[in-house]
């Protein structure tokens, strides 16, 4: 495995009053790794992800994302990451081209770069006949693939994916993962959450959060052996059932 | 019926738990009354007046005395020549000049006839109009005292009487206006938003798939806002009587019943709005543009309708607030009875029926 660390978290903690949403989590993610970030609803996934994206200042602990401190360098973090979620991705009332141009623009790409990227993406995703149609007229699967491509349009060090494949049909879901592998081969680190346990198997390593703590972190294979389970689904259920707190 | 009351109860929970909106709803009439009553008054007080007195006799002194002692005028300049007048106006130092001719006393007392000139800065015609009215009223009063003293049978008739509002208090005309505005807003806007919110939240979907009659749902949503509006009416009336000293000259129960009628009209408008849109934002925009604006412009309490161009005058007739404003003014200020407002009441009832018919026809028992 490549040794260059892209995310280093040590004792990262976030409290809201008395409630400890994220409780001293420590982990490292290497360059071009596909890192699965699992947990039941309310386990603290979203809060942890927000801190790593520089959207929320941790209460205590340390974390470096792409070499930048999550306490001080949030602006630099935002420039070196991409983000995509099921809920927020593209502007529905803009066309495909307009969306790419917009996101390229906010990440400071030059006109030339945007043009090159646009034609590359349109080709790569087979959207030639749709490049000037509004995003809302596309099927969900296409939207999600496009959203992912747009999230990495500026070649970020890391891309955060928050349940990117929810509701997508099985074939497109797999095509989506091929895009993820592709990005990882190009050196982009992938940090992904999902509710589909079979997708957890596609990750290089998986962490499972329970009640704000990382309860397990290893390769899918090792996790299955350690927890004496046939699938990641079983591993997840065994761990998540231990949860005491609700959302 | 039990279902209906359960729904009304739920509506009260919504309103009660959204403290911020509740605060605005109940606070709005109070702030409006206070703003209009004290800050935005139409009254013109302490207008600067210059005097050009060519006669300088006993009567002219008395007249000037009388004018400067009133709270409406401040005699700031005493002039001697006509050509001093214009520069003063140009500098904006004065609003009005009173010109008293030579031989004022003589003519008044012996020829029984004299002429005074009022020169007024009419760049703001409303203010000019008020000033002239005030001045005329004072001069009239002055004339009356002389006439009484001299017991002379002959005098000039320039009848200007400030009816129903002898002190020309601004509050009189805006209290009915604020009532129209507040009722329109709480009833129409809030009802439409409350209904559209159910569509937006998806709860309408569940409610529709229940034995509850859809139109009853909508009525149940309207009831709390109707009650809230009546609370507002009472707040406004109390404030106007005890804070602004505007008395209710007419029959209180008639006034309340007419307000209830107007509440129902506004409600019907709210239902209509909710039936044509699915988003709270749009409902709010339509309410503001389609109700608030016409109510302020066309009810007649801000801008006199008689001064508008004919097409706008005709248009003002379809604004329910205009009729309600007229009714409230007649009952509350003039102290007249139902016989004077039955036509306007009938118009409001007609409008309500038509609006309800429309919204019932438009109401969907299904989605989309």
């Amino acid at each position: 495995m490549n040794k260059e660390k892209v995310i280093v978290a040590e004792g990262l903690t976030k409290r809201f009053g008395d409630f400890v949403a994220v409780d001293h989590i420590s982990f490292e993610v290497s360059k071009s790794e596909i890192f699965g970030f699992l947990g039941a609803n309310g386990a603290g996934k979203t809060t942890a992800m927000r801190m790593l994206c520089g959207l929320s200042i941790p209460t205590s602990g340390k974390a470096l994302v792409a070499g930048y401190d999550v306490f001080k360098d949030t602006d630099n973090i935002k420039n070196s990451i991409g983000y995509m979620s099921q809920k927020f991705s593209l502007y529905e009332d803009l066309t495909i081209r307009e969306n790419i141009r917009f996101y390229g623009g906010i990440y400071g790409l030059t006109k030339k770069q945007i043009q090159d990227k646009t034609s590359y993406l349109v080709d790569h995703l087979h959207l030639q006949n749709h490049q000037n149609s509004l995003v809302k007229s596309l099927p969900l699967g296409w939207k999600q693939k496009l959203a992912f491509s747009v999230a990495i349009v500026h070649d970020p060090a890391i891309v955060f994916l928050d349940e990117p494949t929810g509701g997508v049909d099985p074939v497109t879901r797999r095509e989506f993962w091929e895009l993820i592998y592709d990005a990882s081969e190009r050196g982009i680190t992938i940090f992904v959450t999902t509710h589909y346990m079979d997708e957890a198997e596609y990750c290089n390593r998986v962490s499972i959060m329970v009640d704000g703590r990382i309860e397990a972190l290893d390769t899918p294979k090792a996790l299955k052996i350690n927890y004496d389970s046939a699938s990641m689904d079983e591993v997840f259920l065994k761990l998540a059932r231990k949860a005491v707190r609700g959302e | 019926m039990k279902q209906f009351f359960a729904f009304v109860k739920k509506e009260f929970y919504h309103i009660w738990r959204d403290k911020r909106t509740l605060f605005i709803l109940l606070g709005m009439p109070i702030t409006q009354i206070i703003i209009f009553g004290f800050a935005l008054t139409n009254e013109v007080k302490n207008s600067k007046m210059a005097i050009l007195d060519f006669s300088k006799d006993v009567s002219s002194h008395e007249l000037i005395q009388k004018i400067s002692s009133s709270k409406y005028f401040d005699v700031s300049n005493v002039l001697t020549r006509y050509d001093e007048v214009e520069p003063l106006f140009k500098k904006g130092k004065i609003k009005v000049v009173l010109v008293i001719p030579q031989q004022f006393s003589n003519e008044l007392l012996h020829a029984n006839q004299t002429k005074l000139q009022l020169i007024c800065d009419a760049s703001d015609p409303n203010v000019a109009n008020t000033i002239v009215n005030y001045a005329t009223a004072i001069i009239k009063d002055f004339q009356n005292t002389i006439v009484q003293d001299q017991k002379l049978p002959y005098r000039i008739e320039t009848e200007v009487r400030m009816m129903y509002n002898p002190e020309l208090k601004g509050a009189y005309s805006f209290v009915p206006g604020v009532m129209a505005l507040i009722l329109m807003l709480t009833c129409a806007m809030m009802t439409s938003i409350a209904i559209v919110k159910e569509k937006e939240m998806g709860t309408m979907e569940v409610i529709l798939v229940s034995p509850l009659k859809p139109f009853r749902v909508v009525l149940a949503k309207a009831v709390p806002y109707m009650l809230l509006s009546m609370v507002n009416v009472i707040t406004i009336l109390l404030l106007s009587v005890y804070v602004l000293d505007v008395p209710i000259s007419g029959n209180l129960s008639l006034l309340i019943s007419e307000s209830l009628l107007f509440t129902i009209t506004s409600l019907a408008l709210g239902l209509l709005i909710s039936s044509i849109t699915d988003s709270q934002q749009v409902a709010m925009l339509i309410s503001l543009m389609g109700l608030f604006l016409p109510t302020t412009v066309f009810s007649g309490y801000m801008f006199p309708i008689e001064n508008m161009p004919l097409p706008l005058q005709i248009m003002s007739n379809i604004v329910p607030a205009k009729w309600y404003y007229y009714i409230v003014k007649t009952i509350m200020i003039k102290g007249l009875g139902f016989t004077y407002v039955w036509k306007e009441t009938l118009i409001l009832i007609g409008m309500t029926v038509v609006l309800f018919a429309f919204s019932i026809k438009n109401f969907k028992t299904r989605l989309a």
Binding site: N41, G42, G166 | K10, M201, V206, S210, L212, R366
Partner: protein
């Protein structure tokens, strides 16, 4: 008599200037007391179908009956007899758990105590929080409350539109266990889901895609109809393996499934020996190849493939 009968239902939507087909001539029946699943991705037409059956939408063509009542003519009767849980959480967020339940009981002309037996099982799990506002509940608890509200009037048919979407694996499992128990009470249940793995928990399923039904049957029967041999393949470098297999002209389809790829060959004569030879030739190591039975996702993708041709 069947609980739900759907005959040739079609529905189109106007989106911008184009017409989008939501449902394209759908027909099926749900027997009384059956747990019937409608499985398909977003945009398959599941929500439109549920809205037509719950009388919220009118179909462009076709007919449907719920408990013998026509969805157009007898919509009032249907609204008295069915329970519906829409895809989006549709309760009053500013009312407490208890107030929500009480409200829905009253508008259905009943009371919590009258049908308490039916919901007891589920309600007891959220009862400790009954004074809490619904908006402050966790995803799993919201879902349980919504189910209670949909059940409070003892409906004979229950429509659940994507009840498990966005809910974590633990809550999903619990939810399906609740449905199994409700089934025992004799309630017919129609449930839609985008999660293929949930199909196996239904008595029968309709696989839907693009407004059409790809297959309707017991999940096991649908899987047994998967005609070609299916191979699970694994090696050291998985992503390179995927590329190689996809580029091999002998392969008909290759999809990832957890730690394996599921491979279908074009010719049934080619089997594990040919695949192994090919992989060895391409320098793959730690090769695992075994023949497996198709699961519902394999079937779904195969059916998608044939229907698109």
């Amino acid at each position: 008599m069947a609980a739900v009968i759907v005959e040739n239902i079609s529905k189109k939507y106007q989106v911008e200037k184009t017409k989008v087909t939501a449902l394209n001539g759908i027909s099926f029946e749900v027997a009384k007391g059956e747990l019937f699943g409608i499985v398909g991705p977003d945009g398959a037409g599941k929500t439109s179908l549920f809205r037509i059956l719950t009388t919220l939408l009118l179909a462009d063509a076709g007919a449907a009956r719920v408990e013998g009542y026509d969805v157009v003519k007898d919509y009032k009767e249907i609204r008295k007899t069915v329970g519906y849980m829409p895809g989006k959480f549709s309760l009053y967020q500013d009312l407490s758990v208890e107030e929500n339940l009480d409200f829905f009981a009253t508008i259905f002309n009943t009371s919590i105590s009258e049908n308490y037996d039916l919901i007891k099982d589920i309600y007891q799990q959220i009862e400790p929080f009954k004074k809490r506002r619904a908006g402050k509940l966790s995803g799993g608890m919201k879902q349980k409350l919504a189910l209670c509200c949909a059940l409070i009037h003892k409906p004979s048919v229950l429509f659940l539109d994507e009840p498990t979407t966005g809910v974590d694996a633990v809550s999903r499992k619990e939810f399906w266990e609740m449905l199994q128990r409700l089934k025992l009470q004799g309630i017919s249940i129609l449930v839609s889901t985008p999660y293929m793995d949930e199909a196996s928990l239904c008595d029968r399923v309709a696989l839907m895609e693009n407004g059409k039904i790809l297959a309707i049957d017991k999940p096991s029967i649908i899987n047994s109809k998967f005609s070609k041999p299916l191979w699970a393949v694994q090696s050291n470098n998985m992503f390179a393996l995927l590329k190689s297999l996809k580029n091999w002209e002998a392969v008909s389809s290759c999809y990832s499934f957890g730690e394996f790829y599921h491979v279908v060959m074009k010719s049934e004569e080619k089997g594990s020996r040919e695949i192994e030879e090919f992989l060895m030739k391409n320098q793959f190591q730690e090769i695992v190849i075994k023949q497996i039975d198709a699961n519902i996702e394999d079937s779904f993708m195969a059916l998608m493939h044939t229907s698109n041709e």
